[in-house]
Structures are given as structure tokens and as C-alpha cells.
Amino acid sequence: MSAPTAAVGRAQPRLEGREKVTGTARYAVEHPADGLAYAWAVQASVAKARIVRVDDAVALAEPGVLAVLTYANAPRLAPVESRELLLLQQPRVHYRGEIVALVVAESLEAAREGALLVRVDYDTEPHSSVLTERHPSLYKPDKVNPNFPTDTCVGDFDAGYEAAEVRLDQTYRTPAYHNNPMEPHASTAHWWQGRLLVHDSSQGSGDVRDTLGRLFEVPAESVRVTAEHVGGGFGSKGSPRCTPVLAAMAARHVDRPVRLALTRQQIFGPIGYRTPVIQRVRLGADADGRLAAICHDAFSQTSTTTEFAEQTAVLTRALYAAPHRRTTHRLARLDVPTPSWMRAPGECPGSFALESAMDELAVACGIDPIELRIRNDTDRHPEDDLPFSSRNLVACLRDGARRFGWADRDPAPGVRRQGRWLFGTGVAGAAYPARSPVGSARAEARPDGTYQVGINATDIGTGARTALWQVATEALGVPGDRVRISIGDSDLPPAYVAGGSTGTAGWSWAVDKACRSLRRQLQEQYAGSVPPGGLSVFTDTAAEVAALEKVARYAFGAHFAQVRVDVDSGEVRVGRMLGVFATGRVVNPSTARSQLIGGMTMGLSMALHEEGLLDHRFGDWVNRDLATYHVSACADVERIEAYWVAEDDDRVNPLGIKGLGEIGIVGSAAAVANAVHHATGIRFRTLPIQLDKLLQHLPAG
């Protein structure tokens, strides 16, 4: 970290990059501890049952096994909002894969062997694990994640739709998706003199600290949770999950520090996933493609323990103009693990349906799909009737079209064949809320001329640490090598989790304010020099956030994809992806680009590869590793480009920063699916688009 000028807007390598690639950066289960024991989770092999008996005798006889925790002997937990966290408290199974016992041993291997030897007898009951749009348990939740109205209605959709010249009514289906961060969920827990220290793989250690305090009925000040380095989360570590709770229970039970890491196979369920979604989209337009009516009805699933309502249709409330509009969300309560956040919950699946439907409407109207979107642009939020702080959807579409070479496109589907390949291109629009949550930070000037900035932000691999250091350095107006930034520790000033694309906006604001306050105090009270005892300031942005003017705040984007389809095999390959985004001021172009192409690739993966394969007889997914749950690999991404348009938005927040962790995945699956249609003439409304689904329609087949 020696770059002397670390100005905001300048490409900057990650501060901790060297430690990461040389293996010295410590992740949750890499922190040493004296007398460490290892835990291994035992999962339910049935979907719905009462546990009759747990036979741990053979497991306890295994050399090295210290304890088997079950509902019968595990420490009691006090209630918290998420019932998913009340682990090992009752002899009940709510879904297949639920953790029903925890084996603690002297070694990882002994714990794993012990887990295999635990016998659980169940009294099973019939289960229901398949989402349908007619499931008897469907209900209307009170709100959808995190706090949106469940249904909205503007104008008179039915009348507007009936009167429309062109009507489209289609249903889109996406399967369960599993977050699969590179680092599975993992924790090391240590009780010491009534205090609890947890190293956790989390997107927000403050929430984990508070939740552990409540569960174990100890004051939050007695709990410290660190998450210095986190190997990805994609939302699955956004709120406290099972691992820190189980590790802390085990550590208390055996009175030793305990390490618990879930395996790849074990994270398919207990840590959350993206719900399967069924979406009906109806669009009514005039012959020129101007929308008169939009309706988006979404069906998704939740569990029997905790409600999670994916906000699938909220994107449709903001993206296009239409006088008559309706959105609804319904949930089926199934015997499944609780779905949760996965990169752009709501907007991600919602955009696949809406942006596929827009492509279908463009075809139906005989209008270029970019032109269709431009015709339906709006300068006010169509449902909230607020101005946008900035709205550059059209600029993204136009800039992308120019870069991609869209002008030469022949709209006819299924006609571009070279050798054994059919070629096609597709486009999709994108939007994602640009929130700036309250945060606090401390900035300290030290007598040796260095500066220490602290905030409980989390860097889950995004580059947040580096971006905040750039912001701090600029605000302090000193060379970067004199500024140190500390994050990922619940003892630091509280800040929001790394989620909802809020980090760089909200945290930067707090860091900027603390650093500028410090700088001003140094100048005003100490004539610009640092007092012998140093100077520290702590600030938060609560008042500023509350005073933000009422406008609609969104990032926008446009995706372009070129695909080819092999007529013999049905294999789909993506030759090019290009995204243009309007995300305000970009702090670090290097890591920003990484976030954007990462999101775009995850959308490609969703379009073509990812699918949790449910076996309804068992009630869970059978492809539970990365060999069988396919995510796009490097070879699947042949050429990928991300750009951003210049956007000076001082109404979104004072720094003009919009988050960009999620906008990359919004719409990218639709762009790929739309390109497959353009290549083949076949419209896929169910993902993933795999070779077997194409094969039956292709000329050679």
C-alpha cells in the first residue's frame, strides 16, 4: 500500500491482495487458538419429521470425539427473529438437510467420522417441496424483502390491458440457485471469562454480534465478532447464519475454542438460496410499442420456520412508464430451507422475466428492442411519482449499442448460420436501488503522522477495503501510505452489512465525514499539526441520511450478449457480453469493473448453467457440489466488457456514489436468453437454457 496518491477514481490494486495470494490473509477458520476442537454438522436425511431418538454411542466411541450436541443436550438459546437460528433446540425436522446434531472432536477427521456414525431415528410425515402457482399454501405476505409493499396498483391494469393493441401474456420460470461463495460458511468461536470471540465468515459482523448476544443472553459488549477477510457471500452471509451459532454452542459445551466449517455439499440449503420463482408478465402496448399496461405476478417459496419473501416484481415498479400497472407477490410455505438473499434478490429473477417479455414485445411490435425501451423511458418513478436523482438508462442503451455494433443487427431470428453454429445477439435493461444507509466511522491522527480510520465495513472480496482507503485518503488530503484502514470487526464503529449494493455509498459517506471532521479539527484547533496525544473523531451520518431529499435513487444499466448455438449438440456458447452502467462516481475502476463483470458472468451462469435439481421424493436438491451444480467457468466467458457512463449525481448522496455490486446481474440472464432467441428463433422462458432443451428444435436434430 505505497501508492502516494490514492485519489478516488483511480484504479488501485487491493491493499490486501498480496496477503491473499500468498495465503497469509486469515479467514474465519484460519485463526489459531490454544486447545482448538473441531465440529462437524449432521444433517437430517428426511424432509419433515419428529426426531424420535439420536443414538450417539458409536460416534462417542470413535477416538477423538469429545461430544455430540443434539436437541437433548445443546445449550438453550433465547428467541430471536429468525427461527432458523434456533438450532438444536427441538426434536423437529423442518427440511431435508437441517442440522440435527453437531459432533465435536479433537481433529477435523474424527469429527467428520463421528458425524457419519450418529444415528438419528425419525417419525416422518409427508412433505411438500415443489413450488407451483397453484400450491394450496399460497398466501400474501405482509411485505416483501426487505420492506416493500407486497402488491401495488396504479391506474386500472385490466382495462388498460384489454384496450391495448398488442398484448403479451407469458410465464417465466427460474429454478433454485445456490450462492456458492468460494469460502463456505465457517466460524471459530471461543468463550473466555464470560466473553465470546467469534471469527466468522460474514457480510456483517455487527449483526452477528448482536444476534449471538441475544441467543446466548450475554450483553452485546461481551461479544466480539470479526470478519477481516471473507471469501465471498453473494448475500448468503448477509445476516447471521448457522455456523457462528453452532460454533459458539459447541465451544460453550466443551469449554474450548471450536472451529466449524460447512462443506460445499452442506451449504446447499441450510445457509439459504435463491427461491425458485414463477412469474407471469402481461404487457399491453400500442402498435408503436408504447406501454399502456404492465402486470407482474410473482410466486416464490418460503419455509415453515421463517418467512422470506423475494421481492421479484419490484423492478417492474421502477423501470418503464405505463399508466396502468399492477405487481403482486405470493408465497408458498413449503418443507424446505428458508430461501434468502442472493445477489440482487428480487431484481435478478424479476429482470429475467420483465426483460424477456420486453424482448417478446419488441418482436411482436416489429420494433428494435433498444428503441422499445427508449420509447418507454420515464423521467419520474412510475409508481412513486418521484423524480429520479439521475436516470441514465437510455444513455447506457445508446452507449452500449454503439460499442457493441448494434446498428447493423438484422432483427430476423434464426437466420445467421456459419458452419455448424447459429449466431444471435440480445439486449436487456437493468436498474437497481442506490441506497446509502447510515454508518459511523472513527478517524484518528497519530503523532507519528499516520492516520487510522476504522469502520465495521466488510470486504467480501469486492475491494471495499481499498475503496474506503481511497475515500479516506482523499478526504484527509494526505499521502495514501500514511493512512491505515481497519474493517471487519464488531468492536469498530457500527456500519451496515455488505449487502444491497450499499457498501461503497454508505460506508464512504461515513468515512468521508469522519476524515473531513478530523482534518477540520486539526486545522481549526491545532493549526494543522497533530497534538502530542493524537486526535480522534467519531461521527455518524444519521442526520444527513434522514435529511436526504425525497427522490428515487437507482443505478441503471444495459446488457448486450452475443451467443452461438451448435446445431448438432444444442450447446450454447456466449462469445461476447458487454455491459454499460450508470453508477454515479466510480471510486476504484479496477475493482468496480471486477464487480460488474462478476455480476454479468453470474447472469450468464443463471441463463445457461445453474440449477438446483430438486428431487421431490427426498425434498431437496441432488446436485450439491461444483462438479454437478454448474457455475460458469472461465472458458464460458470468452469476451466480456464493462463500461460506465459519466454520471454526476449529487442528489443520490453527497459523494455521488451508487453501489454496483448487484446491477451487473440484473438483466444479464435476459440478454443471453434474448440472444438465444435471436440465434435460433426459439424462446426460452424457463432457465437454464441447456443443450437438451434446444436439441429437439434444431435443424440437425
Binding site: 444433517q43 436425511s45 477416538p63 477427521e109 467428520r112 467420522e113 457419519l116 462443506t263 455439499q265 434464426g414 437466420v415 448460420r417 455448424r420 451448435d566 446445431v567 448438432d568 449438440s569 444444442g570 450447446e571 456458447r573 445457461l608 448453467h609 435439481l613 428431487d615 421424493r617 427426498f618 441432488v622 446436485n623 450439491r624 457440489d625 462438479a627 454437478t628 454448474h630 460458469s632 467457468a633 472461465c634 472458458a635 464460458d636 441447456q690 443443450l691 437438451d692 436439441l695 429437439q696 434444431l698 435443424p699 440437425a700 436434430g701
Partner: protein
């Protein structure tokens, strides 16, 4: 993970004696499959005998042509071997189509032949599987079976053999040299893997304790015109949805000889003898290639999710043979759009 002993094999005879003397013993090659299965509790050996330092790591030309490939030759090395690349491109391509660079650097030839099915249910000890536990039932038969067999399966097991390399080898008439407790023996690769029948837990015709020591490929001059085509769900690091190994020898417009191997269709790498027979002596036309594939696939019985494999294998058969005979065969009239 069950505690196990580790022994290093010093010579093949000693290794076989060690494994034969212990009921729950296994040979350890590259470990790219076995170690995973041990972690999952699918394989629970008490003794591992490491064979990677046995003197079985060379590729030698045979006096009358052909190659003898030691069992511990790494997949990467075999794929890069100049003779393999020149004389048996089908084998080099099949090897490179498999797994990832890192895995190929570890995986051995013997281990590749003996790798286990990637059927979801086999790899998960919480679900019944006849292959893992005879008599437990087959979860895949009425479960998620898109990746599984269309040929030669039984109601007891619908698993496929996952190897790419073996599909090329079976087309090349490879012979497996094994050392069993009773002595050395040779088994044609076509007879090395069993069909599941009533005993899907018995995967090969080797005696218990047998060690693969080498694979021999006979001379096949026309294999210089050979190729491997693998269709898969993603561009890299995916098992085949279906694959075809092909070599063809023309006599003017006629097929003099042809070899076809099919992958991801059965419990063993599938030698398509019926298709070969149908083509021998016939004009090398796209239509005949198609008819030949249909001849082989007439016996195919699709499961709920894998009917696509029948047209897929047919298309890949036609396409690989057309490509191998490009220039020497009259193209069929362009079909479709």
C-alpha cells in the same frame, strides 16, 4: 473420515499382496476421485496403497506398432505425448476434454479407467444406491437421471461411466494389463467394465485386489484420422452430456474400416459395434452415418430426463464422421434453414 493406513507400493507384486491381504484396501493413484469419495463416506478404505511411485509411468512403443501406456502415466503427460498426438489424436483430444488442467496433472491412466460414476445418488450416502449398498434400491431410476444411461442399464442401476479417455481407448481396441493375486492377465477394454445387471457394485471383471499395470493400444494406422467430440453443458470442466470417439478408413468412396466409441451413455465406455458393422463396406455418406448411428441406438431406452441423448449421439456420430471424411465424401443436401 475413517482412519486409514497408508503404504507406499514399491513394486507391483508387493502392492497387490498388500491390497489382497486386507478386505478394505484400495490403490491410490492421483486420488482425484478416491479422496473425494473418502471424504463423502462413499469409500471407506482401511488401507491405501500408493501406486504412484511404481515403475509404471512410461509410454513405450510396441515392436509391431502401437503403444504400451503405464498405469500411472498422468493424463496430462499422455495427452501431450508426441506419438499419441500424431498417431491417436482421438485419445489426446479425449484426454484434454476431461476435467481441468489441475486434475489432469494428477489423474493417472489406471485411475481414470477405474473412476466411479458421478451419479448424484451414488455420491450421497444419505440416499439409497445399489452400487454403494447392494439391495438398497436405485434412487436414480425414477429420480434426476438426465446425465445417466440410455444403453445397457438395468433396473438396479442406470449409472454411466464418466471417463472421456476410456471412450477413445475402447474405440482403439485397447487391452488392459492387470496384475491379480493369481498373476498377470490381459483384458480387452470392451470387457473390462461390466454392465450393471444385478450387481452394479461389481464394476469391472478384474479379480478383487487386481491392479491395472498398463493399457496397450494396438497399431491402427488410420487412427491418425480420428477425433473425439464431447457435448457438455459448459465449455470446460464438465462431464459429457454425450460424446463420440471416431476413426475411419476409406477405400475410395467406401468405408473400409471404422471405429466408434460412445461416452456418457452406459455403465461402460460403449463400443458401437453395430454402427461399425452397418458402415463397413458401405458408401461413406452422411445418410449412411446417420443410419449406422440409428442401428446402434435402436437398443437405447431413455429414462425420464435423458431422451435427448439419442439424437445427441446420432448427431455427434454423423458430425464426427463427416468431419473426418471431409473432402472425400459428398455432402448431403443442406437440411433445415
Amino acid at each position: 473420515m475413517r482412519t486409514f493406513r497408508y503404504e507406499r507400493g514399491t513394486d507391483p507384486g508387493q502392492a497387490v499382496t498388500l491390497v489382497a491381504g486386507e478386505p478394505d484396501a484400495a490403490y491410490l493413484g492421483g486420488g482425484t476421485n478416491l479422496v473425494d469419495l473418502m471424504k463423502l463416506g462413499v469409500a471407506r478404505p482401511r488401507l491405501l496403497v500408493d501406486v504412484t511411485r511404481l515403475p509404471l509411468d512410461s509410454v513405450e512403443p510396441l515392436p509391431g506398432g502401437g503403444l504400451r501406456i503405464g498405469a500411472t502415466v498422468r493424463n496430462s503427460d499422455l495427452a501431450a505425448h508426441p506419438t499419441v498426438r500424431r498417431d491417436y489424436p482421438v485419445l489426446a483430444r479425449a484426454l484434454l476434454a476431461g476435467a481441468s488442467g489441475q486434475l489432469r496433472n494428477m489423474a493417472t491412466v489406471g485411475g481414470n479407467l477405474l473412476q466411479r460414476t458421478r451419479c448424484y445418488y451414488f455420491q450421497d450416502v444419505s440416499r439409497p444406491c445399489n452400487k454403494r449398498e447392494p439391495g438398497a434400491g436405485c434412487s436414480a431410476l425414477d429420480g434426476q437421471n438426465r446425465d445417466l444411461a440410455i444403453l445397457g442399464w438395468s433396473p438396479q442401476c442406470v449409472a454411466t461411466h464418466p471417463s472421456d479417455m476410456a471412450v477413445a481407448l475402447v474405440a482403439l481396441d485397447a487391452v488392459v494389463e492387470v496384475l491379480e493375486p493369481a498373476g498377470a492377465r490381459e483384458i480387452p477394454l470392451t470387457e473390462f467394465h461390466r454392465l450393471p445387471g444385478e450387481r452394479p457394485d461389481q464394476e469391472t471383471t478384474m479379480e478383487p485386489g487386481g491392479l491395472v499395470t498398463a493399457v496397450r493400444i494396438p497399431a491402427l494406422p488410420y487412427a491418425r484420422r480420428s477425433t473425439y467430440r464431447k457435448a457438455r453443458d459448459r465449455a470446460s470442466f464438465a462431464f459429457a452430456a454425450g460424446s463420440v470417439a471416431a476413426a475411419i478408413d476409406l477405400d475410395g468412396p467406401l468405408v473400409r474400416e471404422v471405429r466408434l466409441g460412445y461416452g456418457a451413455v452406459a455403465h461402460r465406455p460403449w463400443r458401437a459395434r453395430l454402427a461399425e458393422e452397418a458402415l463397413r463396406g458401405q458408401p461413406a455418406t452422411e445418410e449412411n452415418f446417420r443410419l449406422a448411428a440409428d442401428e446402434e441406438l435402436a437398443a437405447a431406452r431413455a429414462l425420464a430426463h435423458n431422451a435427448f441423448k439419442i439424437p445427441l449421439i446420432r448427431n455427434l456420430t454423423v458430425r464426427t464422421l463427416v468431419e473426418l471424411t471431409e473432402g472425400s465424401v459428398e455432402p448431403a443436401a443442406e437440411r433445415g434453414r
